[in-house]
Subunit: 324 residues, 2 copies
DNA sequence: CTCACATGTGTAACCGATTACATGTCAATA
DNA sequence: TATTGACATGTAATCGGTTACACATGTGAG
């Protein structure tokens, strides 16, 4: 690897001139410019971004913290973040936190040491759990409960409401909701949206609970179907739960969607892999990631963003687990 | 953010002493050590890793290039890489290449500029497509065709063979293989394993082809089922294709596994989400990622690794798309 | 009583960039 | 002719660490 000194020597100028050439700052004569350019090509020189980072206290990197990249919601988010960051010249440092505030703090510290320019995190921690370095802008994604920080979410409440509307419109009489964990804001919002819309329609409902993973969902489903024979529609707090219920229902020989309609939440890719395909309230996952990146980059570049809270709209995708 | 100078001043010693203390190198008196430690705590000092990186030409980061983190195979790999890297104190810089050699090259260059200590890449490019910086160790994952580089794969040929064995054992008489793209080594190996085992058993076979995505698989499946009525078992080149065929078969009212058995390859999470659950040749995805990290870290730390090619074993997971 | 060596510490060079500042040339202007 | 400002370039300080080296001091061996 050649350095700016090598280039300077090769071009017969000082390092300052090379630097000015590279950054198009200050004056460089045409002649020098040519020599420097030739030298750069000859030596295959690439400026060292660590040295730059040290001087500028800036790394052109953004840190991304997700609970678990293995959870199908996050790869798409991560992809979006990377895609738009890339456009603006930022690279992505990835961290999995498992939702553990300690791991989150580790990454936060680490990111600061590396002079990342900004951080995007999906977290259920509250502001008080974390020591935030106030010079580094942070955008919070999906779970909107680190109060005061710029946030990108979707309207979970409204999405849940619409899910219920759809089920009713499709003739459902006895609707159940499988809610997600109580620590997760979005699960609570979806729950509330469900409740409110049911009450508005004067309908009775059944609530069950499951974690956001397949195993937990299947267990819940087994219990559920043993107990509640009359239910003809289920709104699940996310697609994983929905798929778990779908599987168990199929196994029990329940006709989907004739006897039982199911609607999930998230709009994650595997909703299309199951049969019947899963009807769901789709979050604009990619857009949320892209939005978060753009917001963060505005913050980094000290532009005034229009808003600090972006709540994107969900849209219902009707597929095979609800009636035509 | 406080610097080593602040700490030195606070502790009443020179920066060299602080540095020696931090790195446990050279001599530091007990008294100085105590003062330094107090100062560090008081100032909440964290050494700046950019400055360190500049001096050491080392960043404690490893670069990970995957084609597309959105492809369900890679999150688990990425997770494994991050988990073991973390243990050894390395962080992960992520890049999606979309299999494009130009993007791969971009990340490679970028990683060098950032002084990453090593690189893990999943790539179908050949060594000649890429300009590799020879000081930075690289481990290639999954697709073993950048010849000469240390590699971690699974035995695709053998896995395919076993898949055929299983189908025959389960009474399949007319077996088809849906092969993956010809540019992908692992798809070719699986194809070859299929062919060889079929010939060995003196059986006729049908070959069809599909890209590794759901849409392409479903299209292929529609064509396939229209044309080949007598087929009673299908070995698919990966789980995505298998799920696509499963869906279309179910839609056509084909009984699975009674009339048609299906086996996939990869062992990706959504194989358990469909019903019937997908029988598959499971790659030890997490282990492969972990192995690649450990191998890379050995290379980084100039330890002599035992081997340069690790070929892990696949294992068949019998689930619902093959007979009991 | 020296000498050798372990212990302890500070000064300054260095990693590879950026940039403030000084210096110098040259043409246009007063 | 003296002054000014645009153009051009180099020197050296700086970012925040690490470490070679020089220079103490103290202790035990010969």
């Amino acid at each position: 690897m050649s350095t700016i000194k090598d280039v300077a020597k090769e071009a017969g100028v000082s390092v300052a001139t090379v630097s000015r050439f590279l950054n198009k700052s200050g004056y460089v004569s045409e002649n020098s410019a040519k020599n420097v350019l030739d030298a750069i090509k000859k030596l295959d020189y690439q400026p060292n971004s660590v040295a730059r980072a040290l001087f500028h206290k800036t790394s052109k990197m953004i840190g991304l913290i997700v609970p678990d990249i293995t959870n199908p919601f996050f790869p798409e988010l991560a992809r979006a973040v990377e895609d738009v960051s890339m456009i603006y010249g930022y690279k992505v440092l990835l961290g999995n936190s498992d939702g553990d505030p300690e791991k989150e703090q580790n990454y936060l510290d680490l990111f600061d040491q590396k002079y990342v320019d900004g951080i995007i995190m999906t977290s259920r921690s509250s502001k008080t759990d974390l020591t935030l370095n106030t010079d580094t802008p942070i955008v919070v994604l999906d779970r909107a409960n680190i109060s005061g920080l710029p946030t990108v979410t979707s309207n979970n409440y409204e999405g849940a409401r619409q899910a219920v509307e759809l089920l009713i419109e499709k003739g459902a009489m006895h609707i159940a909701h499988i809610r997600g964990p109580r620590e997760i804001t979005s699960a609570n919002d979806r729950y509330q949206g469900f409740i409110d819309e049911m009450l508005k329609n004067n309908m009775d409902y059944v609530i069950a609970e499951s974690a956001f993973n397949l195993k937990s969902a299947e267990e819940a489903a087994h219990h559920f179907f043993d107990k509640h024979k009359q239910i003809d529609a289920i709104f699940c707090s996310n697609d994983t739960i929905a798929v778990g219920f779908l599987k168990v229902a199929l196994k029990k020989g329940i006709q989907i969607p004739a006897d039982l309609q199911i609607i999930g939440f998230d709009g994650v890719a595997f909703g299309e892999m199951v049969y019947p395909e899963l009807t769901t309230v789709a979050q604009p996952i990619y857009d949320m990631g892209a939005m978060a990146s753009r917001l963060l980059i505005k913050l980094i570049e000290k532009e005034e963003p229009e808003q600090l809270l972006y709540e994107l709209k969900n849209s219902i995708i009707e597929r095979g687990t609800t009636r035509k």
